[in-house]
């Protein structure tokens, strides 16, 4: 077991988290623990904090372990996973993030209540929290696997330590704490990734040219570009674009970052930093994954552990520690935001909305903190059984596709509770049928991902019901409700 590596990384995370928490507590003793201050950083975050937090929130296990593994089979085309998330950041900065910040909302389901009433808010709250919890479990597994693969520790121990670090990442000052830690970690992440890539490149007998020659010689030249075979682009890349870009822009754990920004202009400016910061990360992980495949001594280990093993064996301890710290930072930031997002839904949309309308900000913050701890503990327990969550990620994201439709059609077109209910019921029903029955095989369409099916059902039912109920209330942005709300704020 590489004890030095493990201790160095854990000590780094503890010093950074402790330092930022202490500084924030001193800087703003009064607001750090209050409700709006905890969940949304008092809606005061500047560009320098919003941008790295956006970039790191949708940059987690799948960007590291997932791309290492995908690059093994499809080479550069695997990068489309990272690029799909970069596009999702742009969509949030241009649309949903700005709108929800303008309306001074705390959660995405709150917007649904403004447009379609309380019942839909509660329904979507439960489903969205479940979807986010699935992602949280994936990140918890990732923490365990990354620590295990680079230090030789057990995955269960890694998940527990990762879970504790993840809770510490968010529990002291909530959104503000996550944001400021992310600022430091984003710098560390890129410095260590660039240094590690240079070091690996220099350490190869023929540099990265040798890696290229390996793929050309083994008739895998199509892996040397991100524009791989067209069938792979249509199934993998396009499928990911649909699943990610029609779900992440309405997912609480990501939009919460935008809602915490100082103003709408801050979100617009953050786009210019967050998109490249997020999108370029995958270049390094793709290249490292392909390099490991080209070296026989690591290739023999298989796609799951070849790259982490190569990094530990080829890099000096100080650089391997830096790189492991940066990988952990990427996963911890997503862990913290998924915990905070799901906990905020619980405290705002369930506890405050259903059971204690008069809850103060401090009481809500307390419930959020308790929910964070409970969610993290359950995620660590579930992750210890290593369920195949990665395989379920498309299914998890597909649940939010009809929510995206409701947000856009409800804001700009028309608002009918019945149409909304029918659309969301049909889309969620299709997602269940496509996953748990033999319908895909019966239709000879098993290769179609859930995202395509849910999108098709959402569009058909959503469009037709909106046409049938077109005389219902106008889109929220065209209504008197919106004008009245803006006049009061």
């Amino acid at each position: 077991m590489n004890t030095m590596l493990l201790i160095a990384v854990v000590v780094y995370e503890l010093i950074l988290i402790g330092g930022v928490a202490w500084w924030l507590t001193r800087r703003s003793a009064k607001s750090a623990g209050s409700g709006a201050g905890f969940e949304l950083a008092g809606r005061s975050l500047p560009v320098a904090v919003v941008a790295p937090t956006m970039a790191l929130t949708v940059l987690g296990t799948a960007h590291i372990l997932g791309i290492f593994e995908l690059a093994w089979g499809m080479g550069g085309t695997a990068l489309w996973f990272g690029l799909a998330n970069a596009v999702a950041i742009a969509i949030v900065c241009l649309t949903t993030g700005r709108w929800m910040r303008r309306l001074k909302l705390t959660t995405v389901p709150e917007l649904l209540e403004l447009m379609f009433g309380r019942n839909l808010r509660i329904l979507v709250s439960c489903v969205m929290a479940g979807s986010i919890f699935g992602i949280l479990t994936l990140e918890t597994q990732g923490l365990g696997i990354i620590l295990a693969s680079m230090t030789g520790w057990s995955i269960e121990n890694g998940a527990v330590v990762g879970g504790v670090l993840g809770v510490l990442y968010v529990i002291f000052a909530g959104m503000k704490e996550v944001g400021w830690i992310n600022l430091f970690n984003a710098i560390l992440m890129y410095v260590s990734l660039i240094l590690a890539t240079i070091y690996i490149g220099l350490g190869l007998p023929e540099g990265f040219d040798g890696v290229s020659q390996h793929f050309v010689a083994t008739d895998q030249a199509h892996m040397l570009t991100i524009f791989g075979p067209i069938d792979l682009l249509l199934t993998f890349a396009l499928g990911l674009f649909v699943a990610v870009n029609l779900s992440v822009p309405v997912s609480q754990f990501f939009v919460q970052v935008a809602m915490s920004a100082k103003d709408e202009r801050t979100i617009s400016k953050a786009l210019w930093i967050a998109v490249p910061l997020n999108g370029l990360f995958g270049v390094f992980t793709v290249v490292l994954g392909m390099t490991a495949k080209s070296l026989p001594e690591f290739s023999a280990l298989g796609p799951k552990i070849a790259t982490p093993t190569m990094l530990v064996e080829m890099l000096p301890t100080w650089l391997a520690s830096l790189l492991l710290a940066s990988f952990l930072a990427a996963v911890l930031s997503t862990f913290a935001m998924t915990c905070l997002g799901a906990a905020t839904i619980f405290s705002t949309d369930v506890y405050k909305r259903l059971f204690n309308n008069k809850a103060t900000d401090a009481e809500t913050a307390k419930v959020t903190r308790i929910a964070i701890i409970v969610l993290a503990v359950v995620a660590v327990v579930v992750a210890s059984f290593l369920p195949p969550i990665l395989a379920a990620i498309g299914w998890l994201l597909a649940w939010l596709i009809p929510v995206m439709w409701l947000v856009f059609s409800g804001l700009f077109w028309c608002r009918s509770n019945l149409a909304a209910g029918l659309t969301i019921g049909a889309a969620w029903g299709a997602n269940m049928l496509w996953t748990f029955t033999t319908l895909p095989q019966a239709l000879d369409a098993a290769q179609l991902p859930n995202a395509y099916i849910v999108l098709a059902v959402t569009l058909v039912v959503g469009l037709s019901t909106n046409v049938v109920f077109r005389n219902s209330a106008p889109g929220y942005f065209r209504s008197g409700d919106y004008a009245a709300r803006m006049a009061n704020t």
Partner: protein, 43 residues
């Protein structure tokens, strides 16, 4: 299915993938700029 300008002899993995990624990200930023300037009218 390869872009013709990427003949095997010219492929240098790291730079090819980096440049392609930068081009895609630049395209996303240009589209975002156009939306911000002409649709949202933010700047």
């Amino acid at each position: 299915m390869q872009p013709e300008w990427l003949t095997p002899e010219e492929k240098v993995m790291f730079w090819t993938i980096l440049i392609e990624a930068v081009c895609v990200i630049a395209l996303v930023l240009v589209i975002s700029f156009i939306i911000q300037k002409y649709i949202i009218k933010d700047s």
